[in-house]
Structures are given as C-alpha cells and as structure tokens.
C-alpha cells in the first residue's frame, strides 16, 4: 500500500461540493450560454429532416461529384444513402448527421482562431498543447457527468461532449499548417511590406488550407466516433439505435445502426479528403507531398 501522505478527502469533497454549488446556482446561466449551440443543432436537424430524402441524396451526390469530377465517389455516396433509406435508418441518420455537422461547425469557429493564435506564440502553444492532450485522452465519461449535471440530459451535453472530443485535431492541424508554410514565401511577403493580417489571410491561411481541411476531416470522423456515447445522454440518432440493440440484445438492430454510422463516416471522409486533394493540386503542393 502506498503510504497516505496527505488526506485527499477534503479536496474531493471540495470539488464535489463546488460542482453541486455551480449546478444549484448557475445552471440556468450555463443553459442560457449554451442556448445558441442548441439552436444551431436544432436548426440543422430540422432542416435535414424536413428536406425530402431525394433532395438530400441529390445534394450529397452533387457535392461528391464536385469534389472529384469522377463518377466513382458519387456512386459510393448514392449506394451508402440508399442503404440508410432501405434499412429504415434515414431519420436517425439525419439526427446523427446534424449532431456531427453542428459539432464540426462549432469546432471550426473555435479551433481555427485558437490554432492561429498557437502558431504565432510559443507561450500559447505551450499552454494549449497539454489542454488538447487532456481533451483527447481524458475518458469522455469524466466530463460527461458534470455536463449532464449542469445542463441535464439532452442534446446540449451531447453536443458539448462531441465538440470537446472532436475539436483538438483541428486546432493542432491549423497550427501545424500555418507554421509549415514555406519560409521563403513568408519572407517575400514580408519584404513587400505586408502587415501580419495581410500575411495571415493572403499567404498563410490559403497555403495551410489543405492541412486545415485535413483537420476538418479528422473532426468529422471524431464527432461520428462519439455518437454512441452522445446518445447515452440524449442525443438520439443512430447511436441510440446501437444502444437499444445492445440493451435488448437485438444484434441486427445494433449491427445495421452501426453500419449506418460507418456509411456516414465513409461519405464525409471521402468528400472532405477529395476536396483536400483538389485544393492541394490547385495550390501546387500535390507534387511535393
């Protein structure tokens, strides 16, 4: 037995009491603060569910064609979506897609500025990097419980948990992309008298865009990886079907819903990757990598 050097019970009690105090006194404020997130998620979900299935198919197949200019990916997307429809998973898939899209949009809004900030200051990077490590490695249940206590079960804690898990790769890749812009190009830009803003928007971000897009791809994949856990606290969607399948020992239900998640992952992964490749080609980095 490790000797008891200090008594940790007061510390634990303080944390628990602190959280309870926050829940008692501040949960309304927290909920109000998270309200825009909820609205975003709701709006996307309502839109996806209200849109007729054939229109969504047409749009996604169209995007797939734009991303590749090739018939292969559109066919894969079409077959994937037909699978969702045939297996009676359409509405759940739309709910899951809405959660993923809302999480990705929020992650983009938050992560890219943080990544930019990180790329410019060593101090910021030294502080942010361990926080990102923590966000990615801390078991999600650890922060799920307090968020559920504060917000109550439902879509908000599910969305927050998804964002916490899915945002870090985008921050990292934004930082990496901005820092690995060719120093010769940056110097040339400086020599022409650009200010930092002109360099950021005119040189760094355009050249880092393929890397940033890889980050967005990672974020969508991580968000989909969270859907089962998110459905435990009320996110609904495909994750909930998987959960029910497990609960009722209905292997088929779990299997099909699980495959539905895989199918969504394939669609979004391939589309974002193809856009990334297209962008690399346009910038002229394709040959280098």
């Amino acid at each position: 037995m490790f000797p008891e050097l200090i008594d940790t019970r007061p510390l634990r009690r303080a944390i628990d009491d602190g959280l309870n105090w926050v829940v008692r006194n501040w949960s309304d404020e927290f909920e109000a603060a998270a309200y825009p997130l909820l609205m975003l998620l709701k709006a996307i979900e309502d839109l996806l569910i209200a849109t007729p299935w054939w229109l969504i198919m047409a749009v996604l197949v169209g995007i797939a064609w734009l991303a590749t200019r090739n018939w292969k990916l559109p066919v894969i997307v079409l077959v994937s979506l037909l699978f969702l429809g045939v297996m009676d998973l359409w509405e759940d898939a739309m709910t899951t897609m809405a959660l993923m899209i809302a999480a990705t949009i929020t992650a983009i809004v938050v992560s890219i500025p943080v990544g930019v900030w990180m790329s410019r200051s060593l101090n910021v990077r030294n502080v942010v990097t361990p926080v990102l490590d923590l966000m990615q490695t801390l078991p999600s249940f650890v922060y799920l419980i307090p968020t559920v206590m504060i917000f109550g079960p439902g879509k908000i804690p599910a969305l927050i948990a998804t964002i916490v898990y899915a945002a870090p790769p985008l921050v990292r890749l934004t930082d990496l992309g901005l820092r690995s812009v060719d120093p010769a190009v940056m110097e040339a830009s400086r020599a022409f008298g650009t200010n930092p803003r002109q360099r950021l928007f005119g040189v760094q971000i355009p050249l880092a865009l393929p890397t940033i897009l890889a980050g967005i791809n990672q974020t969508t994949m991580m968000a989909l990886a969270m859907v089962v856990i998110a459905s435990m606290i009320g996110a609904g969607g495909l994750g909930y079907q998987v959960l029910q399948g497990i609960g009722r020992l209905e292997v088929s239900r779990g299997l099909f819903a699980g495959l539905g998640i895989v199918v969504l992952a394939i669609i979004f992964d391939r589309i974002t990757q193809s856009f990334g490749r297209q962008l690399q080609g346009r910038i002229g980095l394709a040959e280098v990598r």
Binding site: V185, E187, S189, R282, E287
Partner: protein, 347 residues
C-alpha cells in the same frame, strides 16, 4: 557617427553595420569591437558573427554587386537594407532616410514604396496566378484592381512572359519563375531593387540571358540595384561596382577592373585567378587616351577586351569612341595582351 555625416546622394549607405546572431549579441559585440576575430568570438560566446563592421555606399542608378562565398554574410547583408534582419550595431541610410529609426508602420510603407526584392528561391505565391503574383506588391500597397492588373500585364510583357498570365508558378520553369519574381519587383517601380542570388538557381544559359536582360532593364530604367552573388563572373559581367565579402567583412570595394587588376588580398586573388579577364577589363582603362588619326574600326567606351579581340585579326589599331561617336583613344593588340597577361600567376 550620425546620419548627417552620410552623403544623401547615395541610394544606400551603410556605416559600421554589424550583425551577431545569438541570445546575447551585445557581449559578443564588445569582444568583436575589442578586436577579436570572428572565430574567437564564436568559440568564446557561441555567437555567430554575420556581418562585421560593414560600410558601403551604393550610388544612385548603378548595379552594385556584393560577392562572397556561402557563409560570407552576403544574404544577411542584403536583408539589412529593407530590415528583414535587424543589425546589432551600425547605421543604414536609404535615400536619405534612416532605416533603423523607422517605426513598424513607417517600415512597411518604406518596403511598399522604396525597395523591392527578388529572391533566390523566387518566393512566389503558389496559390496565385502569374499576373496576381506580379500584382502582389501593388495589391499590398493598396492599388486598385484594374490598375494593378494593367501594370502587372505590362511588366509580364517586358520580361517576356506574355501568354502565361493565368498560369500557376509551378507550371513554369525555374527561369520563367524568376522572371515572374523580377516582374513582381519591377512592377512596384521602386528606385531600389534588391536581388538576393536572383540567378543562382538557374541553368547557365538561362542565367546568362537573365543577366543580359537585367543589364538592359537597368540601362533603360536607371534603377539602383543591389545584387548578391557567389559567382565572380556574374559580378564582373553586371556590376558597376563590386564589394567582396568574406567572414562578414568587406575585403575590397571597387570597379570590376580594380578588383581584377589589383586584388587587395590573397582571398580575392584566388577568385581572380580563374576569371575571364577579357570580360572584366574595359578597353578604356588600358587605351592610349588622346587624339589620333581615325581608326578603321572602333568600339564604344563601354567595350571590354573580349569585344575588341576579334577585331585585331584585321586591324592593328582599334579606336575607342564616346557616346557621341567622337574618338577618345585607341588600343592595340599588344596593350590588350599585356593587360590580360600581366596578372596571370606564374608568368
């Protein structure tokens, strides 16, 4: 020393510019000023001396070449002129303005309007078309779109890249990319152009063509060009004046023939040994000055020995004429041979 001492007739004047790389440059600077050598300072403090007390004057409208081997500090030197690198000590005055006293804002304005730069690795923006690359400096300066595209198109034509306006830099060859870099600098219409080993990455033939074009452009536009190179032949070909840099210190400054005919030390002698002297020596520096009977064949006063050599196959004397066509002197094959052979070691 203060700025008033510096003659404002010079486009670029540097006084005692020293650059030391490291965390604590001032300690190393004190050692250096106490007369210690570059390698002593490096061994003792771990600081690298980039430039050691460099003073240069670049007159307006000339091509001034700084020549040195890699590690001699020449790229560091050129970056001081537009303050991409801050000196540890010294003064830099460009067109009468003290560059080191400029605020960040003034410095940006100065870079946008007074000095343009061409880079060894081109430094083109890969995500922009050729015309947008050429227009980049004007865009940064805040020139409207129609005007900057018009201006860019003009310079693209001058450097001979018409038809490539919408190409991406990566679709061009190295020589073409550097033409874009040159057009981008020229489009700014600054009095001063800094060229950092601009032609070093190019094939010899293309390099020679670019050198000719640069000489032509400089003649027609009258720009002041500070040109960095490691190639002595290139320096002799394009330079009105040449400074030789070694270990961050200036070894010799002078006209090309000064350096070829009177190398200041062994280091420069080594360069001179392999050089094509016929190209370096102007006939006017070896001719007999004065009035002579008109010669059947004559050359301009800017001609070099290599230009007159073939003429001696037919003629005994070759006349030298000034811009107006008046004969100002004459030269014989003997004089040329003397000049070429005089300093060849072992003779």
């Amino acid at each position: 020393m203060n700025a008033i001492d510096i003659d404002t007739d010079f486009a670029i004047a540097m006084r005692g510019v020293t650059k030391i790389f490291g965390d604590d440059p001032n300690t190393a600077l004190a050692l250096l000023q106490a007369g210690r050598s570059k390698s002593d300072v490096q061994a003792e403090t771990g600081h690298v001396v980039g430039l050691d007390n460099v003073s240069l004057d670049v007159a307006k409208g000339q091509i001034f070449v700084v020549m040195g081997l890699s590690g001699s500090g020449k790229s560091t030197l050129i970056r001081h002129v537009n303050r991409l690198i801050e000196p540890t000590a010294g003064e830099i005055v460009v067109n009468g303005a003290d560059v080191l006293k400029m605020s960040l804002d003034q410095l940006r304005t100065y870079r946008r309007t007074q000095v343009a730069m061409v880079f060894q690795k081109f430094g083109l923006l890969p995500h922009r078309s050729v015309i947008d690359n050429v227009a980049y400096g004007l865009e940064v300066r805040g020139v409207g779109k129609a005007e900057r595209l018009r201006e860019a198109a003009k310079w693209i034509e001058i450097v001979g890249l018409s038809g490539y306006e919408q190409s991406r830099p990566r679709q061009l060859s190295g020589g073409q990319q550097q033409r874009v870099g040159l057009a981008r600098a020229l489009a700014l219409d600054t009095e001063i152009i800094l060229m950092d080993e601009a032609f070093s990455a190019l094939d010899p033939l293309i390099r020679s063509g670019m050198q000719d074009q640069l000489i032509e452009l400089q003649k027609s536009l009258g720009k002041t060009i500070l040109f960095i190179t490691h190639d002595f032949d290139e320096a002799l070909k394009i330079g009105h004046r040449i400074a030789v840099l070694k270990d961050g210190a200036v070894q010799q400054v002078g006209k090309p023939e000064d350096i070829v005919l009177r190398p200041a030390n062994e280091h420069i002698e080594e360069f001179v040994r392999d050089v094509n002297k016929a190209r370096a020596i102007h006939v006017r520096s070896i001719m007999d000055k004065g009035e002579f009977e008109a010669c059947a064949q004559s050359v301009s006063r800017d001609a070099r020995c290599e230009d007159v050599l073939p003429l001696f196959a037919e003629h005994q004397w070759v006349g030298v004429v000034d811009e107006s066509g008046r004969q100002i002197g004459r030269v014989t094959a003997k004089q040329v041979i003397k000049a070429l052979a005089r300093y060849t070691p072992g003779m």
